[in-house]
Symmetry: C2
Subunit: 143 residues, 2 copies
């Protein structure tokens, strides 16, 4: 028997609510087994959840994530049509990721710039303070 998880195990591990996990099941992203009424998650289910959350961080909707899962599942018994469809989706996703990479790079440059300007402004504030002290014998009003 391989490892299993309760719903709150997963909720704790990934820092989300059980409500979310049940909601993801409702949206057909997860298909946990049951013992009686209680849900039991396999490590497969755990991987799905992990992928789901990663997808979300990248801005995918739950519907899109589900579509990817479905395509991937169908690919295992896939006809040529299914396989080509999957390859299309893959290349779409790749293009989106490339755009995101560019966005992130841009953002990082701008943040870097912003940080430099902040530090300069801080330095100038402190220079001014020293100047004030020398000439008045007291710290500047800003402190």
């Amino acid at each position: 028997m391989s490892k299993t998880y309760s719903i709150s195990d997963l909720a704790n591990e990934f820092d989300i609510t059980t409500r979310s996990i049940r909601f993801y099941e409702d949206q057909e992203l997860l298909y946990p087994a049951r013992r009686g009424q209680t849900r039991i998650y396999s490590s497969q289910d755990r991987v799905r959840l992990k992928l789901t959350l990663r997808g979300k961080r990248l801005g995918l909707s739950l519907a899109e994530i589900r579509e990817l899962f479905e395509l991937w599942d169908e690919t295992r018994v896939g006809s040529e049509k299914q396989l080509l469809l999957m390859l299309n989706k893959i290349s779409e996703r790749r293009a989106a990721l490339e755009q995101q990479m560019k966005d992130i790079a841009m953002m990082q440059l701008e943040l870097e710039n912003a940080e430099i300007r902040c530090r300069q402004a801080l330095d100038e504030l402190h220079d001014k303070e020293e100047f004030d002290e020398k000439h008045t014998g007291a710290p500047s009003p800003s402190s």
Copy 2:
């Protein structure tokens, strides 16, 4: 006089609706000038819009984007407190971007893998076809 834009100029350029642009103004992300009733956007406004859309692609909410804009504006006349607050926000954003970079890298690896598996599956389908043709003298039913 530097260049200005109408609302539909920007809507067309960035492929969004005028409704969205007005909504962003409502959320205090943009402050276009007016000629009579009509909005007139400066190239500054255009930059703001561009940054807004980039932020959205990275998963920021409009409220978060606005907060960053405000902080950045205040930074120009900033007290030490404001500057330090800005530096904090910057480092938060940077951390988030790093996480996203990791997510993207992971995703790319998985997509790469998926693509390879798809292509293999396709190859196997085609091998099978050739085999069928050799032994039946006719193309396989799948074509």
